[in-house]
């Protein structure tokens, strides 16, 4: 199967491609359990992490993924306004990177569409690590992998995405990916944080978490930034957690086998009650672990590693 050159949006991926990514991830998941967690698939290739927005977990996850493939990794972090304040355009930055002969650029940016624009200017493969409120496709793929790992399937599951859908790239990518793979998605949150036209995205829409919770196989909580309250999207953090936060009472409304996911970092006391204990069904750690394997699988497939046999060889 032809793999895409750039990963900018879930829109680019067919269900067959997603299946291939998930299948390849299995192999890399195994690599992560070895003592020597490294395969030579991308030896001699260079991956640049280009982060115009603060991020720890995503940057580290991509860095580890590239290193497990034996790629050389360089990291460039900057404020999103740095190049502009220097009088250099984003395109100039891109052409500078182009001149360095990179094989892949992992880009995170505060401005939507930046990954797409970058891909138009460089020869390297561009992986979108989150662009504004637009998309975060690798997060969606690692979430699909995590769901499949637990349930053995994605199709037919009922997934509730709870919280600030409007400002969430995780929600946009996940809604596309989950519905594409046959899941039933309901978005739930305060009406001010649900996009006006979200009903046309092939999802159900609700503002009543208690009513939806008993039907869900997965409760996917989005991070709710505290500044949304300052911008009056909801009256107070207390009111938000009263209606849309997950607490002990609401966990009791869930199906016994239902799982809780979160893209991190968690805002304790907002989307999740501060006193909610650790529990088996809260599978954030799986998401983080799988993130490395999914990103390794993607880089392996996109950078021509698919021409070589799967990663059984040891360094």
């Amino acid at each position: 199967m032809m793999m895409i050159k750039h990963l900018l949006s879930i829109d680019q991926l067919s269900t067959d491609m997603i299946d291939l990514v998930l299948k390849t991830t299995d192999s890399f998941g195994e690599v992560g359990t070895r003592t020597i967690k490294k395969v030579p698939a991308l030896r001699g290739r260079t991956v640049c992490n280009l982060f115009f927005e603060p991020s720890t977990r995503t940057r580290l996850s991509f860095e580890l993924a590239a290193k497990r493939l034996s790629a050389d990794v360089i990291t460039f972090t900057a404020d999103s306004k740095t190049s502009v304040s220097k009088g250099e355009s984003f395109k100039d930055t891109a052409l500078t990177l182009q001149a360095m002969g990179l094989d892949a650029i992992v880009v995170r940016h505060t401005s939507g569409g930046s990954a797409k624009r970058l891909s138009e200017w460089v020869d390297a493969s561009v992986l979108n690590a989150g662009d504004g409120s637009n998309e975060h496709p690798t997060q969606a793929l690692l979430d699909l992998y995590t769901i499949k790992q637990r349930f053995g399937r994605i199709e037919g599951l009922h997934i509730g995405i709870v919280g600030d859908v409007s400002h969430s790239r995780v929600a946009r990518s996940n809604i596309k990916a989950m519905t594409k793979m046959g899941a039933h998605v309901t978005v739930i949150g305060p009406p001010t944080l649900l996009p006006v036209t979200v009903g046309s995205w092939g999802v159900d829409v609700s503002t009543d978490l208690d009513a939806v919770l008993p039907k869900l196989d997965i409760v996917y909580l989005l991070r709710v930034q505290k500044e949304r309250q300052v911008d009056q999207f909801f009256p107070s953090l207390r009111e938000y957690s009263m209606f849309w936060g997950l607490d002990n009472r609401r966990v009791g409304l869930m199906k016994p086998e239902a799982l809780i996911m979160h893209p991190g970092p968690i805002n304790r006391g907002v989307e999740i009650a501060g006193d909610l204990p650790e529990m088996e069904r809260f599978i954030v750690a799986d998401q983080v672990t799988n993130g490395i394997a999914v990103r390794a699988a993607l880089m392996y497939l996109m950078l021509g590693g698919s021409q070589e046999p799967p990663p059984t060889e040891k360094v």
């Binding site: 306004k81 190049s83 401005s111 939507g112 504004g132 409120s133 637009n134 409007s166 006006v196 036209t197």
Partner: protein
Amino acid sequence: MAEILFKGGRLIDPASGVDTTSDVLVSGGRVIEVGSNLSSNGAETIDISGAVICPGFIDLHVHLREPGREDEETVATGSAAAARGGFTAVGAMPNTDPVCDNAAVADKVAAAARLAGMCEVIPAGALTKGLEGKYITPVGEMVTCSAGVRMFTDDGKGVQDSRILRRAMEYIKGFDAICAEHCDDAALSEGGQMHEGYYSDMLGLKGMPAAAEDIALARDLVLARLTGVRYHALHVSTKGSVELIRQAKAQGVRVTAEVTPHHLILTDSELQSFDPVNKVNPPLRSSSDVEACRVGLADGTLDAIATDHAPHSREEKESEFELAPPGMVGLETALALMITEIVDPGILTLAELVRRLTSVPAGILRLAGQGGPVAEGGVANLTVFDPAAEWLIDPETFVSKSRNTPFKGRTVRGRVLHTVFGGNLVVRNGEISPDYHAALSVGTSLGAQQ
């Protein structure tokens, strides 16, 4: 000055209601004779059979960037772009640096335009000092200065404070000038990157709701009625605005309105490319807004076509979407886009399009010597265009300093052949006459003095 006989063209002269084959003889800066089978009497004869000859076009709304951003455009290069688009008069918006909020800046701009000599430039004055929305500007000084300011606006943003706007309207009315507004409720559209709707939701870009324009316009129309000022709505882009203007006109409010080619042609679906060339303010709207603007243009609710020519440097438009400034160039493509997208589908006749580009805007600005009639003794401001000529829009061929058009690569119909400004053939066969190349290479008269 040139002596030229334009022979065999279709004369469309909305001011006199003429639409017939006619020769036009120009000499000494004036139209000498209009009629059939004129003899040249030694004047250069240009055969324009199959082409249209009409008054020079007037664009109520351009940004010439001088003073302040001469890297993006100057009065001279903007005048050249205007001439190449068939325009013989443009209204220059005041959001320069320094802002055109006093007679000194207005006079400088007008003087630079006279020096370039390719197009009449009528500076618009700021409604409030520094475009800050707080203090009204010396309207009288600007109206009576040699630049002859006749329109006042804070274009780029709207005046948010209703009390200040009311005062400005009352004061402006005393000088019989026009109050023009970029209708925008800033609190509603704050941080907006594009039109709020299906595509902004999809792309995760912050939206500017149509309501922000509608609310500001509705308030303005109420105040226009209260004060009796002549009010002009800049770049109308929403269905709601068209309806509000229709109602206000029916009720006798003194309101005129303009619409841009891009708001008549493009929708917010263009933003899927994330290319900031499609970023503009007001933003490209939904298809129902575009349709309403077309209907409003056809029924006369929207009076004039204006380009909102907004040059931006390459590097600024090659930055990330949220950091890129809004705006598109429009002077060199307006006629062809309007013929291709508005006349060809039958929304306006060609003669009506010419009217909306000539006598209508001339009437709004009350310009003498512009917009026709094309009659003996009149100032020779004329445009000759081939309505059938096909060409490919290639921004690299623009004489404007900037290239930021979303219409790059389109094949369009309708090409300006010749532009006569004050009796001089500024554009010949679609190109700036060599006589003006020196003015263009000097670039900026103001910049040169700094």
